[in-house]
């Protein structure tokens, strides 16, 4: 080996190790979730579906999963159009106040989540939204708006606005022009923004710890409290399912963007 090749080899060895460090902890959960033992070992000695049955057979876990998916879906349905509308206004309005608004809409990403959580708790305690699905949906909508705004403003910036103007000058009203000319061309950005909202709402834990309770506990809140007390192997099964879901969702973002790039 000559001297100039050595740093290269070392670099790639380091890169390989870092990549393994990133992926192995997630992959190792999958075989472990099929273990038969109460105390998880790797590799599992006997395989079984025991922990999946424990998850699917538990009313408490299933109700938490239902709450989580309902909330994430509703928050996505709410945050996406709200975010698109504000991204449109921010991109095309000449009003100076829009720059301030844009900064404000980024706040949910900038403020440490624990502070967001106690803030939302303060408001909900006075409006009766504590322990309600509506309260969770609103909170996740607020947390999701920045994802849509970032994705859609990026999409609008690479879109030629005159096309929409032409459609309007040919007699379409503004809404129809947006829906038939603009939206189809930025749909990859919209879709990735929406998927980000869904994944982040599904994963949101800290706000849910403060505002959800009783009948409306989310999956992550239940997982968190279970993990604080003991290492319950049921969580390995849930983790595997959650990982598969987010993997499929990112895969779909990739496909969307690839399709959008081709056309």
């Amino acid at each position: 080996m000559n001297q100039s090749a050595l740093p290269k080899v070392l670099t790639y060895a380091l890169v390989g190790l870092v990549l393994l460090f990133l992926i192995l902890p997630i992959l190792i959960i999958i075989p472990m979730s099929f273990s038969d033992a109460r105390f998880l070992t790797f590799p599992p000695r006997v395989y079984s579906m025991r922990w999946y049955e424990a998850f699917l057979g538990s009313a408490a876990w299933m109700s938490a999963a239902r709450t989580s998916f309902t909330v994430a879906l509703l928050a996505t349905i709410l945050a996406t159009p709200i975010g698109i509308a504000s991204a449109y206004a921010i991109t095309y309005s000449s009003l100076r106040v829009m720059r301030l608004l844009r900064l404000m809409l980024m706040l949910p990403l900038m403020v440490p989540i624990i502070i967001v959580a106690i803030g939302v708790f303060l408001i909900y305690a006075r409006t009766g939204l504590l322990s309600s699905v509506a309260g969770l949906v609103l909170a996740d909508t607020m947390l999701g708006i920045p994802f849509v705004v970032l994705a859609v403003t990026a999409g609008l910036q690479s879109f030629d606005h005159t096309q929409e103007m032409v459609a309007r000058s040919l007699g379409m009203n503004r809404f129809r022009a947006f829906m038939t000319v603009t939206l189809p061309q930025i749909k990859a950005s919209v879709a990735s923004g929406a998927i980000f909202v869904f994944i982040s709402a599904l994963d949101e834990t800290v706000v849910a710890l403060f505002i959800s309770g009783g009948e409306t506990q989310t999956l992550t809140k239940r997982m968190f409290t279970a993990l604080r007390d003991e290492i319950d192997p049921t969580i390995a099964a849930i983790s595997t399912l959650l990982t598969v879901i987010s993997f499929l969702l990112i895969l779909s973002i990739g496909l969307f963007q690839r399709k959008a790039n081709r056309t």
Partner: protein, 290 residues
Amino acid sequence: MTASSDADLARAFERGEHRLMLLLALPAFVVVFCLLVLPLGWLVVQSFWDDGPSLNHYARLVTDPVYLNTFWLTFRISFIVTIVTLLLAYPVAYAATVATGAWRAVILAFVLVPFWTSVLVRAYAWLILLQRSGVVNGALRDAGLIERPLALVHNETGTIIATVHILLPFMILPLQATMAKIPRDLLTAGASLGGGPLHVFRCVFLPLSLPGILAGSTLVFVLCLGFYITPELMGGGRTVMVSMVISRNIELYQAWGAASAVSVTLLAIVGAIFWTVSRFLPLDRVFSTR
């Protein structure tokens, strides 16, 4: 039609346009204002209130060693995590930049899959891996490197390992985005002028990647300052970071004044960091990876 009525018409059009844009922005404004800006203002007021306007809560932050230690520990952990992620992320981002086709896709997949995997799932994975009878201790013992299991979890070590794992993609992605924009020609030019690979790297590539380093470090440092779930699960109650002090003051003691003062201090620090960074780098560059 006279010129003045033309101008009137244009003004009326502009007013209508402004009104429509404000209307479109209104729902997002209302949601973020009511659920975030309003309560933040409330916290600020509460932090200066103790049966009347007072600085009592802040005085306690400065005098009580518990608070000082927590802030110190949080800064120390955030600093360590930022340095470690930078050292680990830089070669990966570089490899992803110079790799071609399938290799780049593979590297990015290895980064993006953990990035979008639930934080709880990853904390759980590390709990299992690092526990006394866990995979890591087992492997080290089988390799003959240790005799008794190391205490890797429920302490600061566990917190740092899991936090580095969770924040690493937040460093790699902005670094990679910046490196991708560095023209290859510059490196060739540097080499053709007689610079060795290391010299070209230090004098050309490294300076040009500085915006990425700044964006990634800011993101990782600020996220780490406000981390809650990971230290709570991995720290075993001993590694108390700022977020945990806030939540404990509320959940255990209902001490809203103290919690508000800590929150406002943390918020001011985070705000100051973002403000400083925004003078060198548009904040969009920092956030586009989230």
